[in-house]
Amino acid sequence: MARIVFQNVTKVFMDRVTALDNFSLSVADGELFVLVGPSGCGKSTALRLVAGLEHPTAGAILADGKPLNDLTPQERNVAVVFQNYALYPHKTVRQNLDFPLKMMKLARPERRRRIEEAAALLGLRPLLNRRPRELSGGQQQRVAMGRAIVRQPIAFLMDEPLSNLDAKLRVDIRAQIAALQHRLGITTIYVTHDQVEALTLGDRVGVLQGGRLQQAARPEEIYDRPANVFVATFMGSPRMNVFRAVLEKTGRGELLLRSGHHGWPLPASCRRAGSLAEHIGRELLAGLRPEAFEQAAREPQPPSLEGTIRAREALGHEHIAYLDCSLELLSDASLARLRHGEDQAAPHVGDPDQPPPLIVRIPAGEAPDPGGRLSLRPHFEQLHLFGPDGEALPPG
């Protein structure tokens, strides 16, 4: 068990591709830390650096204060669970579990004891004499976990261990992994591209983008107080609505959020209200998650936001509605441009002729059919405000 620290780690592949850019992170002893980000963000590279399968271009990786840089994978005593499990196909489950123990030169009774223990823990007993290809995906996943556990390593490194499983199994095993990790208390770095997995599993979550750590915090904080527009829109599905807005001050000293022809007074409960004075008059980015809306009656007071339903997805207990409305919403493309910098061509996403829709969650049965009008009351206590550069405004 160990505390794992990345100190200003940079990894450049073939002098061209920067996978990690001055990456610093500290994972506490016994913690389950989830690294999440889109593909190509450098999360797997971070894991492979800890395992010793890659070498950092600059910076250091420490385990309990001791630098790992010069150690081979064999000397690090970390256990990796690979995405495709990498079980030895010619060995039985028992031999797969035994291999790391044999390499540690443990005595035969001790090896047998540890295999039995892990097999009991993971329900592998009836499978011990089978070969990997005779197992289902979920069983293979458990064997891969078992091979990591028997070692009693200083850390588990898991590289998208659930991505090859079907949705139902993924949820089951996700819970099992969390329970197992808390029971064993071994420091774990878990890499995934699935933000739901990150939020449900992690003691803390690190959001990675473009080789840079965007935010590392507890899941609730990541969701409730995202550090920038990238974290805000990446975490949460459907993603947060982001629109251009300006803060104004009324004659009575109230703060007003203006976007297009709308102007909404911000409630006193808006926790940022205290420190917003300096941003008055500036162009800002405002964010509201799809659940931050409530369907409003047209009477007695006029609704504060109206839209026409473009499309609708039924999820059973609720619907996701895509609305055309008069907010100046940012498209996926312009969000990407924001995070890559203006000079870089953003990946082209969506239909350029169609303005991005406002995405709203609505209880089932309340949503009109496409083409119908929907009246909404936004919950501004859940408003997120970002500067024009996409960074969250500092809290008051």
């Binding site: 399968l53 064999q74 990796v80 495709n84 291999f99």
Partner: protein, 289 residues
Amino acid sequence: MRPARTPPPVTVRRRRPVIAALNYALLVIAAAAFVSPIAFMVAGSLKPDERVLAEAGSWQAVWPREASLQNYRDVFDRVPFGRYFLNSVVITGTIVLGGLVVNSLAGYAFARLRWRGRDALLGVVLALMVLPLQSIAVPLFYEVTILGWRDTYTAQILPFVANASAVYLFYSFFLGLPRELEEAAWTDRAGMLRTFLEVVVPNAKPAFATVAVVLFLFFWGLFLWPLLVTIGPEVRPLPVAIAHFQTLPPLKWGDIMAFGVMMVTPVLVLFLVFQRWFVQGVAASGRKG
């Protein structure tokens, strides 16, 4: 690579019977063309000497009426066949076993290790693949003479243990193996050699079988080189021995056929035993590179 366990299902197509018959007729003719020399040899080895050529024009060429093993006895009486056979087994066996070890390690180094000059050397290996033995036979002969290795096993084994084609076949097969298996082994604390022996080799059986069969076939039948470097019967292998046997009066075709059958049998047996892996290995080597 995960070798295919089950062959793809054979698709049965209905054809018009005339075309089907023609197809089969063609196949039978082609098969006869390949099988008839072997059948002629086997039949000839079992007949009295004078009937071998006399019946060559009739169907009896491939059908011995009163089979006897007399010709086989003659071979052992006239020449030290056992010695020749042993020589071939020792020479070819050592080349195959040594070749598997040396070339697989070299192929692994090219496929997985990073070292200075690797790509340049891989180019050299590729170039060596197209170089026929005949073109280097004379300088090689000169070298062997200087070293005093003429008429030894060493001269017939050592130049051929390292083999560019075998290195390349291993190299391309190892490239196709999933890297995660080795990475898993390293993080499981297995060293380089341990990983190679315990994880890579067991998953590369088709490559080993292919190289073994190819090397065996080539060196079991190699004629020119042992003809150059051997003098007496002590280290003379079968191909040189059968050529020598033909020139040994009296000329008896039945005996030569018997010699031929005994020389070819190990090749056929080995091929039949390893056929399945062999085909897999050839298919796999074609996938990369």
